[in-house]
């Protein structure tokens, strides 16, 4: 690739042209991982993610380009928007997993239409009934127990997803197990949200 301004060579990782220091567009086909300078993968250190986000935010901040050319001002806006999107998506482990699945051709929304798993759904039905009853009676103790139980299940699901992604080359079966795990996690997220009013609402993926 060449710099749009001075035509000198620019590497795919270069945010600025090494020769003329002008802001570059994202390379074509770049994903949200590369927006943060990360390689595609599930395993991300949260502190590293945070540090990268802060550093890039400073680099790309539109205030820094107030006096720059129109093209650079636009690029700074575009790349900042994209960076924020990347940070939001990758910070949350379940959204990250869903995004990664989509990149790997297993969009969880497309894959998981109607759930036919009587055992799991029966359990969910019971749990939601218990929850409704406890809410009606303002039974805080039961609500807290339900919330803790659901959080434990979520932690177990997150561990399972991490383990499956850590496989050397997750095949079709592993990917579909992740789709399935994410589907189950959605149920427990809803339970937590209902049982604990202080919990943040479930995020769209």
């Amino acid at each position: 690739m060449n710099c749009w301004s001075c035509q000198k060579a620019v590497g795919p990782e270069d945010v600025f042209c090494p020769a003329c220091r002008v802001l570059q567009p994202e390379p074509p086909g770049a994903d949200l991982f590369s927006a943060l300078g990360l390689s595609r993968g599930y395993d991300i250190d949260p502190d590293d993610l945070e540090a990268r986000f802060r550093a890039r935010s400073r680099q790309l901040h539109p205030d820094r380009f107030a006096r720059a050319s129109a093209r650079e001002r636009r690029l700074s806006l575009e790349r900042t928007t994209r960076l924020n999107d990347a940070y939001r998506t990758l910070k949350d482990v379940r959204r990250r997993a869903a995004y990664l699945l989509k990149l790997l051709g297993k969009d969880p929304v497309v894959e998981a239409r109607t759930l036919h798993d009587p055992e799991f759904l029966e359990e969910q039905l019971e749990l939601r009934e218990m929850l409704a009853l406890a809410r009606e009676k303002s039974d805080q103790r039961t609500l807290a127990l339900i919330a803790t139980g659901a959080r434990d299940r979520l932690a177990a699901i997150d561990e399972e997803v991490a383990r499956l992604f850590a496989e050397a080359d997750p095949g079709e079966e592993a990917l579909l197990s992740i789709v399935s795990a994410l589907a189950r996690s959605r149920y427990f997220e809803n339970v937590v949200a209902e049982a604990d009013p202080t919990a943040p609402p479930a995020q769209p993926r």
Binding site: T114, L182, A183, R186
Partner: protein, 153 residues
Amino acid sequence: MSYSNKVIDHYENPRNVGSLDKSDADVGTGLVGAPACGDVMKLQIKVNEQGVIEDAKFKTFGCGSAIASSSLVTEWVKGRTVEEALAIKNTDVAQELNLPPVKIHCSVLAEDAIKAAIADYQKKRGLAPTVKADTVKGDRQALVSKGVLKAGL
């Protein structure tokens, strides 16, 4: 997003909420979920000797559209034959309730629930299923048969 009056009406005054005896030979139970939003929907039908659905009950934990879709479907299937009930399409539900595009899947869930309930009834009665209980299409079908999706989907 705002709900249509019909959705609000079904949400505030849901018809036929409750349960039928799952072990009754005349009762078919459909239990389905929408993994994208974590909804669970149980729909039950009681079929008489003439093959007419004489009672229907539902229990749904989900958004207003999911509750309204299942409530409406229980109203519609009562008094219909099993064959007639199978003709109910999610598009009919979506149209009746004026569901916005993002809530179409709620009507799909209701259609899948009634199909699953009928399949369960037919299975109990030793009848050939008109539709497969698992309405999931495409390659997922193959994966279910291979057992890959059994764990959760």
